[in-house]
Every structure is written in structure tokens, then in C-alpha cells.
């Protein structure tokens, strides 16, 4: 590529330009940086939300790390990454790959329909799927119709199935986003590359692997960061569908943060878990960026 930087390198910084970002920056400080700093300070204290904060150092952190329920909730989050991130990316890539080969009439309509879950409120999504998965809901009625009475069950009440089935809701929500992202990405791939591939005798699969996939690297990174972050910080979907149950089988760290802060009077401990979750997300996002970075 021979794109030229059309901007001249600046030698002098014009400080007045900072004035333009000042209003937004004030909001950012007030509603992001200040609460983050406050949470960090609170995480080193014992605090019930209204009393005086009592400094306890790293005690909240060490307690969290030795709490088996919290550790298992982090494991659940990693399982959810498969459903919230990997599956939607695979499905999105497949749809984008098919679109290149097959021209479907009225594609814009299908695309809008497939994107729909993405714009629905998670509350709506959660309540709808709770109904779909209910013991007498449509899923079980369908299974019964095909004579699969042995398979049908209370999906969200099952210790074995609740987590993957909540995960599948996440897949349903997220694949519209990855699909749109990848379709947009595919459209910017120069058609010469596909022509060249055809000349070289590449079939659909070879074309996908050698042309489409490498050219979507940037989009895949964005999709990964977005969906992995969502999988780890997800709260509303679990809260609405299972509340972390049955038992602790769908418990995730953000549910613990909520319960500690609002049910158990442990705001300090909740803050420490919040900071730990932030660090975990930050680490994973950094790893994604490092591993998938374009090698120069």
C-alpha cells in the first residue's frame, strides 16, 4: 500500500485545541474516572454503604481469591465467552463468506432481521427467552411435537443446561453485530483479490481462507474485543433469566458485585471484585490485541 500521510507532522502543540475536548473531558472525569478512582479506594475498605469506611488494605482481594464461589463464577464467564464471542464470530464469518458467493434477493431485509436482536433491550431478550425455555414453553412444545419428550426439560432450571442455554441467548444477540461488521468488512476488500483467486482456481473454501479471512483481521479484532468484554461484564441477561441459579450454576462475577453491594452490605468487597473484573477484561483485551496484531 502506498497511502501518503496528507497531514503535515505537527511540531508545535496548539493548546487551545484542548478547549474543544474540555466539555466531554469534564463529563469523562465526572462519570468515568472519578467513579473508577472512588471504586479503587473503596476496594481497600470495609464499608456497608452508609457507615464510615474502614481501611483493610488488600483483605478484600485476598478473600475474593480464596472464595471458591467467585472462582467458579469466573470459570462460568470463560465458558460464556465461547457463546458470546466465539460462536457469533464464527456464524458472522460464515454468513459474510456465503454473501460473497451467493447473491440473495432482498438481502438488506434479511440483514435487518438478523440484526434485530442486537437493538432489543436485554430485558426484553431475557424475558422472551425465559418464556421460550420455560417447562411448557415453545422449545419444549416443539421437542414434544417431534416425539422428544425425553429431551424436553426446564432448561434454565437444569444444573447441566442452564449455563449453555443462557449462553445461546448471548449468541443470538451478538451474531447480528458480528455479521454486520464482517459484511461491511468484506465490502471493502478489493474485488481484484477475488478475481485473482478465481484465476488461481480457488474454490469457495480456499477463497474464504486466503482472501476473506485475512482481510477481516481488523474486524475480527473489534468483534473479539467487543464480545469478550460483554461476556465478562454481562449482568442483565443472567439477572433476568436465572439470577445465577439454579444453585450457583450460572453465577458470574457481576452478579456477585451486585449481591455484595446491594444485598450483603459489602460495598468494599463488591468494589474489589469490580476492580478485579476490570483488570481481567483489560488483560484479555490486551492479549487479543497482542496476539492478533498485524506483524510488520
Amino acid at each position: 500500500m502506498t497511502t501518503k500521510n496528507i497531514y503535515r507532522p505537527q511540531t508545535k502543540i496548539d493548546y487551545s485545541s484542548y478547549l474543544y475536548i474540555l466539555p466531554a473531558f469534564i463529563f469523562y472525569i465526572l462519570f468515568v474516572l472519578f467513579p473508577l478512582g472512588d471504586t479503587l479506594v473503596t476496594s481497600f475498605t470495609e464499608w456497608n454503604g452508609i457507615s464510615e469506611k474502614k481501611w483493610v488494605g488488600l483483605e478484600n482481594y485476598s478473600k475474593n481469591l480464596s472464595n471458591k464461589k467467585i472462582i467458579s463464577s469466573i470459570k462460568h464467564s470463560f465458558i460464556l465467552i465461547i457463546f458470546y464471542s466465539f460462536l457469533p464470530i464464527i456464524i458472522g464469518l460464515l454468513i459474510a463468506g456465503i454473501m460473497i458467493r451467493v447473491k440473495i434477493h432482498g438481502m438488506a431485509t434479511y440483514r435487518a432481521i438478523l440484526f434485530l436482536p442486537q437493538i432489543l433491550s436485554m430485558i426484553v431478550v431475557g424475558i422472551s427467552w425465559r418464556w421460550i425455555y420455560a417447562p411448557k414453553g415453545p422449545l419444549n412444545s416443539g421437542l414434544d411435537f417431534f416425539g422428544l419428550e425425553n429431551v424436553s426439560r426446564a432448561w434454565l432450571g437444569s444444573f447441566d443446561f442452564a449455563l449453555p442455554f443462557v449462553g445461546l441467548i448471548g449468541t443470538w444477540v451478538m451474531f447480528g453485530f458480528t455479521m454486520i461488521l464482517f459484511i461491511a468488512g468484506v465490502q471493502k476488500i478489493p474485488s481484484e483479490l477475488y478475481d485473482a483467486a478465481k484465476v488461481d482456481g480457488a474454490g469457495a473454501i480456499a477463497e474464504f481462507l486466503n482472501v476473506t479471512l485475512p482481510n477481516l483481521r481488523g474486524e475480527i479484532i473489534v468483534a473479539l474485543i467487543f464480545t469478550v468484554t460483554l461476556a465478562l461484564r454481562n449482568f442483565d441477561l443472567i439477572y433476568i433469566t436465572t439470577g445465577g441459579g439454579p444453585g450457583t450454576s450460572t453465577m458470574i462475577p457481576s452478579m456477585f458485585i451486585y449481591k455484595k453491594a446491594f444485598q450483603m452490605n459489602q460495598v468494599g468487597s463488591a468494589s474489589s471484585l469490580g476492580i478485579m473484573l476490570t483488570l481481567l477484561i483489560f488483560t484479555l483485551v490486551s492479549l487479543i490485541l497482542i496476539i492478533l496484531r498485524e506483524k510488520k
Partner: protein, 413 residues
């Protein structure tokens, strides 16, 4: 411009006018909306110049925010709390609510109830010990966990109302064998299983023992032989399929809807459901207090949410006066009218068979001093532990001993 000026002036004057009257601000959990609306209208009529501003929040929102609202610089004068260290204890420890001793004497609240009946509202003044000390809250409403049953089904199964726990177990077996769902349970929500556990626990454990554990969980033994026996009973009931195979996938509201629509023989839940069952099932629903192993009665249950007066209230006397209106003999019948079970004996006859049976069950529990509150009151973390562990027992992935061990560990946590 002139119009805007007029508007501003009139708004200012209006707000001034409403400040001139005495305003009582109330924040209540939504379950009491009908009660408070009724009482407020009566109180305003009887006390000209008094205006009541009541706000209501659904359970989850209420419990998540009540402490912060009471800690606010301009809190409501009168508000619900919740029994236990999590809400009431914190409010008292932080000095956000006042002792009601003075008003209890003035209005004779304590004489309305048996000795010790108000212990769930009693705290040491530093909020560190619970179950004795000063009166910090009061409620005119009783909430008991009892057994509702489908009359037609019980009759067609050839069963009668059990008078011992073993008879209840037999009724479950007969129901199951006949292809009926013995107990309808909304286990997906977790907390309804606490009510079931409370009744099974009560069938074997002395209520005095359970109450003292709830008041002082870290110092009173949980894993007593009788309680282990009760836990085994619950596990046996779950393993025998008495709750059906889907109960952990059914929410509380759905379970009650199933019961009203004729599914399930028994429903172990609270008296707050009486009005709904009555209107949904008519004469086909009955109620009794759970019998114990030796023929007494057992029940979870307590007073409804306590009313507290804010320590920042500018007019605590007015708040207490309104509270006394709720507690008064005159209001007892109105409580029945809005479908609540009054903690004091009503003067009018029950309006339905079901209400008569519910009041009889409630009276039996009071008479035997058999109310055992709710397990989750014991510690701030107990709600999570008990709901999670009970779901495991109901789902068959944990044994009775696992449940007992987890509960004992949470007690001393």
C-alpha cells in the same frame, strides 16, 4: 414573558401553600400500596391540614435502595425496613431510625400482642444484637407461611387435612401415585424454597430454637440432630419427585398461576397470596397450618415489613400518629378489606371460607408461638447461601448433609 412570570409565581405560591400544611412523607414496599392508600385517605380526613405523600417501590428496587434513601439528607418520615441485620440492623447501627419505645408506651402497642411477640422488632440501641432491647419497628400485618390446598383434588384422592407431618407426607405420596403434582413450587426464584424449608424445619425443630438461631446465628448451633432430620426429609421429598421435575425452571408467579389453574395439590406459601387464591379458585381452595411430627403446628412467618421513623424526620410525632392509625382497632377490618391478614383479631367475620381458614391457621401459629420467621434473616449472606443450597437439594445435586454443612458455615461467617 408575562405568562412565564405568572407560572413561576403560581408554582412558587403553590409549593409555599403545601409547605404550610403538615406533610408526612412515606416510602413503602409496593405490597402495602392498597393499605397505605386506604389509611392515608382516612388519616387526612380525620386530621385536616395533614397531607400524606406516599411513594411505593417494588421489592427488589425497594431493598436495593432503602438504606441509601434513609441516609439521604431529606429522607421519608416513615418507611419500611426489613427484619434482620442487612437492613434494620444497618439502619439502627447508623442512627438513621429512632426507637419507638416512647410511642409504644403512648399508644399501648405492646399490650396488643403477647409477650415476646414483637421480638423481631427489638434491637440493642447500637444495633449489634437483635431479638431483645428497644422497639425499633412495628407492623399491623401478619404474614404466615401455611399450606394451601386444592379441595377437589384432596377430596378425590380420598385424603383429609393432615394433622401430623407423617400424614402430610402420606398425602404427598398418594398424590404422586395418582399422577398429581403433589407440591407446586416456583423454585427458579430461590426464595419460595425458603418457605418450604421453613415448614419442613418447623415440623421437627422447636420454633424457639430456630428463632434464637436467626437472632444470633454465629453463636447458636445450626446443625442440630432435629434440623438434620428435617433436611433429610426435604431431600427425600425432592428425590421422591414431590415438587415435580421442573420446579427449578418455574418462577413464583407462574407456580401460583399453575396452582390457581388447577395444577398441584398443595402450595406452601405465604398468607399474602390469600386474596389472589380466593379470587382465582373460589371455594376450591383451603388452607391449614403445617402440622408438626407430634401434632402441633409449624410455620415460617412473621409480621410484615417493619415501619420505621426516620431520625431526620421533622415531625416524628405525626409519623407515630399515622403509625398508630395503622395499628388501631379501627383499621383492623380495613386491613382485611384490602386482603391482608391483620396481626390483631379482626372484629368482622371473614369474607370467605378461605379467609376463615387462613385466619384459623394464623391463630394456631400464634397460639403455639410457632412462627419461625425466615431463614434468610440470619446473616447478610444467608439469602444467597440458603437459596442456592436449597436449589441444589431440590435439584438433587446436593445431599441434606451438604445443605446443613453450607448453612452451618454461613452461620459463623
Amino acid at each position: 414573558m408575562k405568562k412565564i412570570f405568572l407560572l413561576i409565581t403560581s408554582v412558587f405560591m403553590l409549593s409555599f401553600a403545601s409547605n404550610a400544611a403538615e406533610t408526612l412523607r412515606i416510602l413503602a414496599e409496593a405490597g402495602d400500596e392498597a393499605t397505605i392508600t386506604e389509611a392515608a385517605a382516612q388519616f387526612e380526613a380525620a386530621n385536616p391540614g395533614v397531607k400524606i405523600e406516599a411513594n411505593f417501590l417494588g421489592w427488589d428496587d425497594f431493598m436495593a435502595t432503602i438504606k441509601l434513601k434513609m441516609a439521604d439528607n431529606n429522607p421519608p418520615d416513615l418507611a419500611h425496613g426489613n427484619q434482620g441485620f442487612t437492613v434494620d440492623g444497618t439502619l439502627i447501627q447508623s442512627g438513621l431510625v429512632i426507637s419507638l419505645e416512647k410511642y409504644a408506651d403512648q399508644y399501648n402497642w405492646k399490650k396488643q400482642f403477647a409477650n415476646g411477640a414483637l421480638s423481631e422488632f427489638m434491637w440493642s440501641d447500637d444495633g449489634s444484637t437483635w431479638g431483645s432491647g428497644s422497639l425499633y419497628g412495628i407492623s399491623p400485618v401478619a404474614e404466615d407461611v401455611i399450606v394451601y390446598y386444592n379441595k377437589d383434588k384432596l377430596k378425590s384422592l380420598g385424603l383429609s387435612v393432615p394433622t401430623r407431618f407423617s400424614e402430610f407426607e402420606n398425602a404427598l405420596k398418594v398424590s404422586k401415585d395418582a399422577g398429581e403434582l403433589p407440591i407446586v413450587l416456583g423454585g427458579a426464584d430461590g426464595w419460595p424454597i425458603i418457605h418450604v424449608w421453613g415448614l419442613v424445619e418447623g415440623a421437627y425443630v422447636n420454633p424457639e430454637q430456630t428463632r434464637s438461631w436467626i437472632f444470633d446465628a454465629s453463636n447458636v448451633q445450626f446443625d442440630t440432630p432435629n434440623r438434620i432430620k428435617a433436611a433429610n426429609k426435604l431431600a427425600d421429598m425432592a428425590n421422591a419427585g414431590y415438587f415435580g421435575s421442573d420446579s427449578l425452571g418455574v418462577g413464583y408467579d407462574d407456580a401460583n398461576a399453575m396452582f390457581i389453574n388447577g395444577e398441584g395439590v398443595f402450595n406452601l406459601t405465604g398468607t399474602w397470596m390469600t386474596a389472589d387464591f380466593n379470587s382465582g379458585m373460589g371455594d376450591n381452595v383451603g388452607a391449614f397450618a403445617m402440622p408438626t411430627w407430634n401434632g402441633g403446628v409449624a410455620g415460617g412467618g412473621s409480621f410484615a415489613l417493619p415501619w420505621h421513623i426516620s431520625s431526620k424526620s421533622s415531625n416524628p410525632d405525626l409519623a407515630a400518629k399515622f403509625l398508630n392509625h395503622l395499628m388501631s382497632n379501627e383499621f383492623v377490618d380495613d386491613l382485611m378489606g384490602v386482603g391482608r391478614v391483620p396481626a390483631q383479631a379482626p372484629t368482622i367475620d371473614p369474607t370467605s371460607n378461605l379467609q376463615a381458614e387462613v385466619i384459623a391457621a394464623s391463630n394456631a401459629l400464634v397460639g403455639d408461638n410457632a412462627k419461625t420467621f425466615y431463614t434468610d434473616w440470619a446473616t447478610p449472606g444467608m439469602y444467597d447461601t440458603v437459596t442456592q443450597e436449597l436449589q441444589k437439594v431440590i435439584g438433587g445435586v446436593a445431599s441434606a448433609q451438604d445443605f446443613i454443612d453450607a448453612m452451618a458455615a454461613e452461620s459463623i461467617n
